[in-house]
Amino acid sequence: MSGHRAGRITDDEISELISKLQSLLPESSRRGAAGRSSASKLLQETCRYIRSLHREVDDLNNRLSELMATMDGDSPQADVIRNLLRLL
């Protein structure tokens, strides 16, 4: 998606990126008076969203590592993880 551009950046390119970014953010942050969204608000929402995604990933990493710790055991969870990872 990136690439070095020799020419000037067009307004079109900027607004395309901005609207794509806006469509990625969760619904709740898009609510509000249309047209009131400023660059600053968009950036703030993006940062907030990235932080929450990081937290989710951390949590999932922890859960996954706990699951893997139980892999030697007999639970159905252990079976599934073992199957998925085919470590047996």
Partner: protein, 195 residues
């Protein structure tokens, strides 16, 4: 062009490969080490898969930076070699070294500017102009501050300017969302619908 299905498939496959390596390596590990191994696996899997997310191989700054970040720690070498292969790891380690140098150069440049008083002159000339239009200047400062925060959140962001920061952010957020989705599936113990 970005291809979500291709990306998800590559990501899931790579995730399993990485976790398998981490699982084997972690048999003798303590809790914290295993967590770090899993974090490394999922991050590297995401970065590697993103290179295969399009019709042609692609490389994003965030993916290179993420891999380099993990490669910068010596204790990750063994696991990373298993996941990426020797050649892949060597490239990542080299990238980590050059990033470190680039960061030091940036810091030195910035401190030279500040010490020479050039920074003070630059700021005072800005405020002179902004006195006439303080609302716009304040808005600009706010945007600048938020961009700085964004730079700290996106891997490799410190080295990116303007448009490339935005496009890297877009790509990174899409991949993060997929990472969450796939890992949730793994934790629930089911295979995700990839089609």
């Amino acid at each position: 062009m970005y291809a979500p299905r291709k990306f998800k498939k590559a990501f899931m496959a790579q995730l399993l490969v990485s976790l398998r390596a981490a699982g084997q390596a972690s048999k003798s590990m303590g809790l914290r080490e295993r967590r770090d191994a899993v974090r490394l696996s999922s991050d590297v899997a995401m970065a590697l898969a993103s290179a295969r997310a399009g019709e042609a191989p692609r490389s994003t700054a965030w993916a290179r930076a993420l891999v380099a970040r993990h490669a910068a720690e010596r204790r990750n070498e063994a696991l990373m070699r298993r996941i990426m292969g020797g050649a892949g790891y060597e490239m990542a380690a080299a990238a980590a070294r050059s990033r470190k140098e680039a960061r030091s150069r940036r810091i030195v440049r910035r401190s030279r500017r500040v010490c020479s008083g050039a920074e003070r002159k630059r700021r005072s000339s800005l405020t002179a102009a902004s006195g006439r239009c303080s609302a716009m200047a304040a808005a600009r400062r706010m945007v600048k501050a938020r961009l700085q925060v964004l730079r700290s959140l996106v891997p490799g962001g410190e080295a990116l300017r303007g448009l490339s920061l935005l496009s890297e952010t877009l790509d990174y957020v899409v991949c993060l969302k997929t990472q969450v989705e796939l890992m949730q599936c793994l934790c629930k113990g089911s295979r995700p619908k990839l089609g």
